[in-house]
């Protein structure tokens, strides 16, 4: 709103006032942007420079030799890095899809507002509150081949459990990691989708029911389109979180057996903080950052094309 009649008596001269006033929002945003740039730019530039050197902290404190793109070539040719890329894509695609589907199903059941169901809803969020490292320990206990609850349950149901344990067998380990992620994050989808579905106006749903639309049609044609923006944002956030997972893997399997549960996040951890192979890990970092950016950019471009802010 612009008032021409009222002027603050304490106002400075026109030039000074207009400069500050015109740029005020930028002055308020700047500190956070500068802080974040300082924290983000350094690692990225550092990694960019290091990625062109042979540099291993176990051999020497400084970069040893300029090697050009050798680290990138090595990263791409490394069998375990490609395995990590595949595993990460499998985990993040399957994880996001399954968590969204299960979460939506739970949300629709919670919407049948029966007495007592709000307690269920409130408690359901608990897995999401726990630190990933702790969730890792929780599931190591459940998966333990020598008496873990989950292993025992499977055996009691006459389901085959690998002799090496669920986490010890290459055929089940990745699925076991996926299950952990689904357990922790399905409630997140359930609660968020539940809350946004609550906001769908009843009149629209009534009208659709009068037109004898089936529950499935109402869900696909009315409810989901109305909560699209929420869905877009949570799917994106979750996808990237799984993409960067490393702490659960660290606790549960350390990427093994073999390369069966290696993720990009874990590879970065291992090359950087276990092997101290700074040159190689820097190249991997940049490969990861580029992949992440391409995925996010494509997603944002298509998902937010018609959104108003």
């Amino acid at each position: 709103m612009h008032t021409t009649t009222v002027r603050s008596p304490r106002a400075f001269g026109p030039t000074r006032k207009s400069f500050i006033r015109r740029n005020l929002p930028y002055f308020l945003i700047a500190p956070s942007v500068v802080m974040l740039l300082a924290l983000i730019a350094y690692p990225l530039l550092f990694a960019l420079r290091s990625s062109f050197y042979f540099w291993n902290l176990q051999i020497g404190p400084e970069p040893l030799q300029f090697v050009g793109f050798e680290n990138y070539v090595q990263a791409f040719n490394a069998f375990d890095f490609r395995a990590a890329l595949t595993n990460t894509l499998i985990l993040s695609m399957l994880g996001t899809t399954l968590e969204f589907t299960f979460g939506l199903a739970i949300a629709l059941i919670l919407l049948k507002a029966l007495p007592g169901m709000n307690v269920v809803r409130a408690l359901l969020i608990l897995p999401t509150t726990i630190a990933p490292i702790v969730v890792g320990f929780l599931f190591r206990y459940l998966y333990d081949p020598g008496g873990g609850l989950l292993s025992w349950l499977l055996q009691s149901l006459w389901l085959p459990v690998p002799a090496e344990g669920i986490l010890g067998s290459p055929s089940t380990a990745l699925a076991a990691i996926l299950l952990v992620d689904i357990w922790q994050w399905t409630p997140f989808f359930a609660i968020v989708l539940y809350a946004s579905l609550l906001a769908v106006p009843d009149e629209i749903l009534e009208a659709a029911r009068l037109d004898r639309a089936s529950a499935w049609t109402i869900l696909m044609r009315i409810k989901l389109p109305l909560i699209k923006r929420t869905a877009i944002i949570i799917v994106m956030l979750r996808f990237m979180q799984i993409f960067n997972t490393f702490d659960t893997v660290l606790v549960l399997t350390r990427g093994g057996p073999g390369t069966s549960t290696r993720t990009l996040g874990y590879s970065l951890y291992e090359q950087g903080l276990v092997n101290f192979n700074i040159g190689l890990v820097s190249a991997m970092t940049w490969i990861t950052v580029l992949i992440v950016n391409v995925i996010v950019a494509l997603y944002v471009f298509f998902a937010f094309r018609n959104e108003e802010w």
């Binding site: 500190p31 690692p43 359901l124 490292i133 008496g147 968020v192 994106m236 960067n244 970092t285």
Partner: protein, 277 residues
């Protein structure tokens, strides 16, 4: 639709509710039980549901030798520090994004969002080397500083959604009375939006509290946080499950309480305010 059909549906819904609790809360209770059960019953087959609870594991981790008591304090220092450093940066930015028309607002908001997607492990090595070179390794400040990459973008989004709800008319009235923008922000808007600041702080606290990646690299033995403490039991002297569980329960409880207390803000917090809950 017949009455019997509806009551059948009701029963089915309750059954589903119980199933969800069994799946999503059951494992947590089972893990908490591990912390208070006699060590020798941890892996009995079939699982032993009844046992004589004791607090030996908690005594071990908190009192004698009490390694985790120190880590509990460290976790608190780091998480509270992260919140305190975060607010002066994120609140003004959120205020500006909520209250002013500005060019490229959508891009700025997406830029913050994008930072939340950066792989934290990718940044660990550069931070590790930088912090070591400037001699801050093992300090609380290094962890608190680096955590801002998570807490600032998150808080800006969440705070903006709270400030959006304060009626502009209140500020207009003050402006007509000749108040400056900072008086308006500090004396009118922020007091009204105090619940939002509290909720934002609590969520930032949980983020910092649950983070293990940064302390894993930046902490020293004396500044290690609780999640690092649980990892410690794993690395040394065989796996002592009761101690792990006790330390883990300690790490689990504050976020759980915060989420249950701020139940009505949970959705908004989890989606950084992008979805009004």
């Amino acid at each position: 639709m017949s009455r019997r059909h509806t009551s059948f549906n009701t029963a089915l819904t309750y059954a589903a509710g119980l199933l969800f609790l069994a799946i999503f809360v059951g494992p947590i209770l089972w893990f908490i039980a591990l912390a208070i059960r006699p060590a020798e019953t941890a892996f009995t087959m079939p699982p032993q549901l009844t046992f004589e609870p004791n607090l030996d594991a908690f005594r071990h981790i908190l009192v004698d030798p009490g390694t985790n008591a120190r880590q509990l304090v460290n976790s608190l220092i780091v998480a509270i520090g992260a919140v305190l450093l975060n607010l002066p940066f994120s609140v003004p930015a959120a205020y500006a994004l909520s209250r002013f028309k500005l060019r490229g607002k959508k891009n700025i908001m997406l830029w913050y969002l994008g930072l939340l997607m950066a792989p934290p492990v990718a940044f660990l090595i550069p931070y590790f080397i930088l912090i070591t070179r400037i001699g801050l390794q093992g300090s609380y400040f290094s962890m608190i500083l680096v955590l801002q990459t998570l807490t600032i973008p998150f808080s800006v989004w969440l705070m903006k959604s709270f400030i959006d709800e304060v009626p502009v008319e209140l500020e207009e009235a003050a402006r007509v009375d000749g108040a400056r923008w900072y008086t308006i922000m500090l004396r009118i808007t922020l007091p009204i939006v105090r619940p939002g600041i509290i909720v934002t702080s609590m969520f930032a606290f949980v983020f910092a509290w649950n983070n293990a990646a940064f302390p894993l690299v930046l902490s020293s033995r004396s500044t290690a946080t609780l999640p690092i403490g649980t990892l410690g039991y794993f690395a040394t002297s065989g796996v002592t499950w009761n101690y792990i569980a006790a330390a883990a329960v300690l790490a689990m409880i504050p976020p759980m309480i915060i989420f249950l207390v701020f139940d009505r803000y949970v959705v908004r917090g989890l989606t950084f305010g992008s979805v009004k809950g």
